[in-house]
């Protein structure tokens, strides 16, 4: 199986109405920033839910570890690619 390149993941934040914070509503894929905003409009504000949208590339977000009290595991925490399921293995390879 070949893994085809995909549009990067964006996290979407919507301000529901004036005076409120932007709130994380979900994510989507887009080839670039502009497309991310347009997709966010279509996907997350179809029912007039928002007055303002932020779109942030998921891989640009700096995040704390869920487990700061235990620095031993922290470096691994934010890297999904260190997890085995991140790698597509051909299904006919046994015992992976």
């Amino acid at each position: 199986m070949t893994v085809q390149p995909e549009w990067p993941l964006y996290e979407i934040f919507v301000r529901g109405k004036r005076g409120l914070n932007h709130v994380h509503v979900g994510s989507l894929h887009a080839a670039d920033d502009e497309m991310a905003l347009r997709h966010a409009r279509d996907v997350y504000t179809r029912r007039n839910e928002g007055v303002s949208i932020w779109a942030v590339r998921a891989d640009l977000i700096v995040a704390s570890s869920p487990d700061e009290k235990d620095p031993l595991f922290a470096p691994a925490g934010d890297k999904v690619y260190r997890h085995p399921t991140f790698y597509a293995i051909p299904d006919d390879v046994p015992h992976m």
């Binding site: 509503v25 497309m35 996907v43 999904v80 991140f86």
Partner: protein
């Protein structure tokens, strides 16, 4: 990593589950938990995407402009639900492309209900009433599922889904107030979808191998049989109000249990549909594969364009 550290992490995880707290993407979790969440969420996402087809089948033939708009918006919502759920899956390090490959190659399943054909416009209403109704029974508890991103996606899905059920029921009510032919269409459609809707809750608990572990982990919150009972109890008065009969001679109120007794769906048929020989299995997957393959050049073009970094 030492055995003690492993045991500590596992204990932390179990404690979080026990307290009904949420597991978040970057928490440590047992490999089996991760695999189970991915399997369940992916199956759910695939169901939304495949579920666009049976109803989408009627968009161009909707008999009024209002119904056309409602149906188009509804099928569009299903694309949205699939998208939210794929995103929840992606927090576990598996990409949408991989999940789509697994759907198309048959390695991951979707709800067997969508392997039944839609043969009249009444099916749009019946799917809203019974299929979305059954889905809501299944899904509302999932808003409290232990995996955070899944639960949050489900909150949005459930809010939109309740509209779907109402539009379906309202369509059937309107049709029942129309002509004799329309009433016959509704009854015929309910006859076809009642049993497959009951199957949506999965096999009886005794034959459901994954239920116990999924419940212990808080991924699943109720057993198949409990949810099925709840759905039957809910649907009976709705059918009465609508003026249709449900095609089950064993259906009767049981005073002692405080629930309806009801017959068992044909579980052999269920097994056959799940294993690929339902009326529309091949058609649904072929449709998805064609759309995905035909879109490849577009997705590649957008990536190539973005890589050039040109601003418009």
């Amino acid at each position: 990593m030492t055995a003690t550290a492993n045991a500590d992490r596992e204990a932390d995880f179990e404690r979080t589950i026990e307290h009904h707290d949420r597991i978040e993407p970057r928490d440590w979790m047992p490999e089996k938990y991760r695999a189970t969440v991915i399997r369940q969420v992916a199956q759910h996402a695939h169901s939304e995407i495949i579920g666009m087809q049976p109803e989408g089948n009627w968009i161009t033939r909707a008999p009024s402009l209002r119904r056309k708009a409602i149906l188009l918006a509804k099928v569009q919502d299903e694309a949205g639900h699939g998208l939210y759920l794929y995103s929840a899956c992606e927090t576990l390090g598996v990409s949408r492309g991989e999940l789509t490959d697994k759907l198309i190659s048959g390695k991951q399943k979707y709800s067997s209900i969508f392997n039944y054909p839609t043969l009249s416009y009444a099916d749009v209403g019946t799917i809203g009433w019974l299929v979305d109704g059954a889905a809501i029974c299944n899904q509302v508890p999932l808003c409290r599922t232990s995996y955070g991103p899944y639960g949050r996606a489900m909150i949005r899905v459930c809010k939109e889904e309740s509209f779907h059920q109402r539009q379906g029921y309202e369509l059937l009510m309107t049709m029942m107030s129309g002509t004799d032919e329309q009433r016959a269409m509704v009854q015929e459609s309910v006859d076809r979808f009642w049993w497959p809707a009951l199957m949506m809750f999965g096999p009886p608990d005794a034959d459901s191998p994954n239920t116990a572990q999924s419940m212990a982990w808080g991924i699943k919150r109720d057993t198949n049989d409990d949810l099925r009972q709840k759905f039957v109890d809910m649907s009976v008065p709705q059918a009465e109000a609508l003026g249709v009969t449900l095609p089950d001679p064993e259906l009767a109120w049981n005073e002692e249990r405080g629930h309806h007794d009801f017959g068992q769906p044909d579980w052999d048929e269920f097994a056959a549909v799940v294993s690929g020989s339902g009326p529309c299995n091949a058609q649904r997957i072929a449709h998805r594969k064609r759309a995905h393959d035909e879109g490849a050049w577009v997705r590649e073009a957008a990536l190539a364009f973005a890589a050039k970094g040109t601003d418009l």
